[in-house]
Amino acid sequence: MTKVNTDNHTKKELVKKALKKMLYNKKLVQDYIKGKVDLKTVEEAGIKFVDPI
């Protein structure tokens, strides 16, 4: 995981981006579950499916 050291304003923007990225990842996975996008599209977005159970 890449760690970031920066000022408060930049941190705030990074956290906002992080939340949006989480939402984006979720939407892409939801589309995959529904068969609207293929696995390649998901993987190209940097998303890695895992089976942690």
Partner: protein, 136 residues
């Protein structure tokens, strides 16, 4: 239901490394709204219990905002957690943030036996502090 590796939320937790962070994504396989099924709760509960057999795993999720029903989802997940068998050993921490008129609800679930429990709790709530901090 799918799990994805997702350490995005903890990108700014400079002092402590968090590993085994997963985002859980739950959805129907079609756009058709399914009828109420009480077994959904039981299924998810069983999966959560199985997931936390390894107490060092961390589960994160953000409520879907696509249809504006994120608050309803947030409340439902909270109700499920409150009535679950595991709510004493697995803690669910919640927070929210409104950005450009969209209210985001995000949560993490951590096992109480996780050796980084206090650090995780602190890191999680520091996210909101960063979000509301307007100092340069």
């Amino acid at each position: 239901m799918k799990f994805i590796e997702d350490e995005t939320l903890f990108i700014l937790t400079n002092n402590v490394e968090f590993e085994q962070v997963y985002q859980i994504v739950i959805d129907n396989t079609t756009d058709t709204k399914p009828p109420f099924d009480s077994r959904v709760f039981l299924t998810i509960e069983a999966i959560i219990i199985e997931f936390f057999k390894d107490t060092q795993k961390i589960l994160v999720f953000v409520c879907d905002t696509m249809d504006g029903k994120q608050l309803a989802r947030f409340k439902k997940f909270n109700r499920w957690h409150e009535k679950s068998k595991h709510n004493q050993s697995i803690k669910k921490l919640n927070d929210n943030y409104t950005d450009t008129d969209v209210e985001l609800f995000y949560s993490i679930m951590i096992h109480k036996s996780n050796p980084k429990f206090k650090h995780l709790k602190s890191a999680f709530f520091s996210i909101k502090e960063l979000l509301i901090n307007d100092k340069p």
